[in-house]
């Protein structure tokens, strides 16, 4: 534990800590471009120069390890002059096309220019070296070589994390640029991360390109709903529309990366949404008020249970639901409807692609949670069998996915049930067949927790109000239960989670506070 | 001629009065009250009591009902908060009693027999004025006291803090 002093603040840091990391721990920000906590250290941008006592020259903070008695200063005039010089050098050939650059607003060059630069360019625009702009280099990435400051983060990412190495430096001197090898485009499932790690606008996202200026976006901490890995993400939105998902650092789950499939998950929250409660009487869908829709559903369930016994009612839960919602669904099924026929399925249509890094075969964020909360895959099989036998009169179904059945199969299966109520976010085969459609919020419009495949319970938070008249799943379930005569007193997901942690052994002792932003593993999990 | 006009205005007066009593909203009642008062004023004119007819309109329609409407607006009870009128036994009894009263007045009216007077314009401004300031001067002066006390009473009652 060497003791050292930085800007007059004394501290002790673990052995082998670099000055930059140590300063970061203390809360002093040292400007840097090439340094990235999850990549190897290159030390080629020279932005992180600091003055270290007894060293004749300035040292780069990212690659100088703290030693006993070291005295570091990052706030001297000498440092400032050096950093300004480095920045000016980087900007010499920069095209300064911020108005059309997507990075504007979260750009390292802009930020440090405002902090250290503010100089006039000594180079005329005509004299600048022009490189190729707008290059589609495959994956989700557009390359603008002119804006590059040659920090090599992308090169290192492709060598060290994906180990595919598609990019490299080419040319020399002020003509040097990054690019792919001719004709060999990016070919891995993690290309989106390049846009994140690029400190400038050289690598930008094809998907997010020109959609929105970043300063309009608000962010909320969330969990990727794309697979059971449960990557920590930040959801960026503006005015009720999700614009992009970015990974959030969680060393226990996804470090700071996420896959390209997960990045596109936001589209599901924007497209073909169910917006109003719909009652389908005699085959004709009619928009209804929430009260009507819930009242009708509750009535039909009670009717079925009274006339044909509780066995004629079934609940099919969804692994897309949060732990809280699954808990309430289970409670509704077993305590109020008193049925034995309930279950869920984690199977989805598609090939279930997986790799050994972040992508998991189970494409549902909360299959583990559903199992821990008492839903079982066999239950789904039982329910499907009972439905096809015509024993089920009223069915409550969450989501649009019924295993890997095709749309036609779903339709013929559900046509055997006289009343289907669906709680779902997007339009699909089930919602088209349902007699009562209860639209629910997307993952960015509600809060809750998912349990990932490793049994880690992680929170996702509400970003904005549900679109249209869509309702929060918890409110829908509570409303349904109240109309079925239950006396539920839940107010928001936190109160449900409290009840859940008291009721379930796996979740015992957990609270939203103890979950924090990184989550906690369930009892008995890895 | 007088009979036709009498029937016309009498019918208006009675119809208006019935409407006053049966309307749910006091504003409607007040407007029908004006109608009744006008009809009564017309009846006065029919009986050559021109002064009283004018006074009827000025005082009643011009002031008293305006006061009523003023209060209706001031109080402004929304339509659904108006008192619920229910038919009860006591009320029915009251209506029956009123009916009997009318019947009785009809019987009494038929017995009315007095010789007709000579002066034709007993209701003109001059005649009423002369009577008012000679024979009935004291009563007239006392009326002013009554009105004064009513004014003071009204102000005292309606004041927010006494």
């Amino acid at each position: 534990m060497p003791n050292f002093t930085i800007n007059g603040i004394a501290a002790a840091v673990p052995d082998g800590t670099t000055i930059l990391a140590a300063a970061h721990m203390i809360g002093i920000e040292i400007p840097h471009y090439c340094y990235h906590p999850k990549l190897s250290i290159a030390g080629n941008c020279r932005m992180c120069l600091v003055e270290v006592e007894k060293f004749p020259k300035l040292q780069i903070a990212c690659n100088t390890v703290v030693t006993e008695g070291m005295v570091v200063r990052s706030d001297t005039e000498k440092v400032r002059k050096a950093v300004t010089g480095v920045l000016e050098l980087m900007l010499i050939h920069h095209p300064v096309d911020c108005p059309i650059c997507d990075q504007a607003g979260e750009c390292g060059l802009q930020n440090y220019y405002m902090k250290f630069g503010l100089h006039k360019s000594r180079y005329d625009l005509e004299d600048k070296v022009h490189k190729k702009k707008v290059q589609d280099i495959g994956g989700q990435i557009v390359l603008d070589a002119e804006r590059c400051i040659l920090c090599s983060r992308c090169v290192r990412f492709l060598q060290e994390v994906t180990k595919t190495g598609e990019m490299e430096f080419f040319q020399r001197g002020d003509h040097s640029e990054i690019s792919i090898f001719p004709g060999r485009k990016l070919s891995n499932n993690y290309t989106g991360n390049l846009a994140d790690i690029c400190p400038v606008g050289a690598l930008t996202s094809k998907d997010f390109r020109f959609k929105c200026r970043v300063w309009y976006l608000s962010s909320v901490e969330s969990i990727c709903p794309g697979c059971s890995n449960g990557c920590n993400i930040v959801a960026d939105f503006k005015g009720g529309i999700l614009y992009r998902l970015k990974p959030r650092r969680n060393d226990d789950v996804n470090q700071t990366w996420m896959c390209d499939f997960g990045r596109l998950e936001y589209k599901k929250a924007n497209e073909s949404r169910l917006l109003v409660p719909v009652l389908r009487e005699a085959g004709k869908p009619v928009a209804a008020s929430w009260d009507e829709a819930l009242m009708t559903s509750a009535m039909r369930f009670r009717e079925a249970a009274e006339k044909h016994g509780p066995g004629s009612v079934a609940v099919i839960a969804s692994p897309q639901s949060s732990n809280e919602e699954l808990f309430l669904a289970k409670k509704l099924a077993s305590e109020i409807l008193k049925t034995e026929t309930f279950g869920f399925t984690s199977r989805t249509p598609g090939d279930g692609f997986s790799d050994d890094f972040l992508i998991k075969a189970d494409k549902n964020p909360n299959s583990m949670g559903a199992q821990l909360l008492g839903f079982a895959e066999e239950g789904f099989g039982r329910a499907v069998k009972a439905i096809s036998d015509g024993k089920i009169r009223a069915l409550l179904i969450f989501g649009n996915v019924l295993s890997d059945l095709s749309d036609a199969e779903v339709e013929s299966l559900l046509s055997k049930v006289s009343f289907v109520a669906q709680v779902g976010t997007g339009d699909g085969a089930v919602s088209r067949a349902a007699h009562a459609v209860l639209p629910s919020a997307s993952f960015a419009e509600r809060g809750g927790t998912f349990t990932n495949i490793a049994g880690r319970v992680q929170r996702f938070r509400k970003g904005f109000a549900p679109r249209g008249k869509a309702g929060n799943d918890i409110e829908i379930l509570v409303g349904l239960a109240k109309r079925l005569g239950a006396d539920w007193k839940f107010d928001g997901e936190e109160s449900v989670f409290k009840a859940l942690s008291e009721a379930s052994a796996s979740f015992s002792g957990m609270s939203y506070e103890s979950l924090g932003s990184g989550g906690r593993a369930v009892a008995g999990g890895q | 001629m007088e009979l036709i006009l009498f029937i016309l205005f009498g019918a208006i007066a009675v119809g208006g009065a019935i409407m006053v009593v049966t309307r749910r909203h006091p504003m409607a009642s007040a407007l029908y009250l004006i109608l009744t008062l006008f009809a009564v004023a017309a009846l006065f004119a029919l009986r050559q009591a021109h002064f009283l007819a004018a006074i009827q309109v000025i005082v009643y329609a011009g002031a008293v009902v305006v006061l009523f409407i003023f209060v209706i607006m001031l109080v402004n009870v929304p339509e659904n908060k108006l008192p619920m009128e229910r038919v009860t036994g006591m009320r029915l009894l009251g209506v029956v009693a009123a009916g009997l009263l009318i019947l009785e007045s009809a019987v009494l009216a038929r017995k009315f027999a007095m010789p007709a007077g000579s002066t034709a314009d007993a209701g003109s401004v001059q005649a009423v004025g002369r009577a008012l300031f000679t024979d009935y001067l004291l009563a007239f002066e006392i009326t002013s006291v009554l009105l004064l006390s009513a004014v003071i009473g009204a102000i005292a009652l309606a004041k927010k803090k006494i």
Binding site: P99, I100, K133, V134, F210, Y216 | -
Partner: protein, 161 residues
């Protein structure tokens, strides 16, 4: 035209003649009748400017209706950087950016709407524009329209001014 402030001494106590009002009202009537007769006799001297036919010359820095500038080839100079929309205190500018077919331009406004009903004519958009693409030098007041929709100026209208 100079604007002077004339201090009028207000007497603490009105004189008897003044508190009667009648005389003062007469004086006032005389003043207004003086104006009335003078204006009838000297009809031409009434300082009204009859607007659509006669117009005041606008000062050089007058901020009128917006216009969008063009490049020599006729395409809008705007690159849809959203700077004006960001600077706008009234949030009256709506831009939808798109990929330009010209790689030298890269980004261009698919839509560029200004809601003239919301605009407060502060000129912040002109200040903010990095490309000198928006100006308010038309010298025009926003002309009246009969629907609100017509007062949302689309890019075509803004370019042709």
């Amino acid at each position: 035209m100079t604007i002077g402030v004339k201090k009028v001494a207000r007497p603490e106590q009105m004189s008897f003649g003044e508190s009667l009002y009648l005389l003062e009202i007469m004086k006032g009537l005389a003043v207004t009748m003086g104006h009335f007769l003078h204006n009838i006799a000297h009809n031409k001297e009434i300082p009204t400017i009859e607007y659509p036919e006669v117009r005041r010359t606008m000062p050089a820095r007058f901020r009128g209706c917006h216009r969008l500038m063009k490049r020599p080839d006729g395409s809008p100079r705007c690159v849809a950087c959203y700077m004006c929309a960001t600077a706008c205190p009234a949030k009256c500018i709506t831009i939808v950016a798109g990929e330009s077919p010209d790689p030298a331009v890269e980004k261009y406004p698919v839509r560029f709407d200004i809601d003239m009903l919301r605009c407060v004519f502060c000129g912040q958009c002109v200040e903010a524009c990095p490309c000198d693409a928006i100006r308010m030098d038309t010298g025009w007041h926003t002309p009246p329209e009969d629907t609100r929709e017509k007062l949302i100026y689309m890019i075509d209208k803004l370019l042709e001014k």
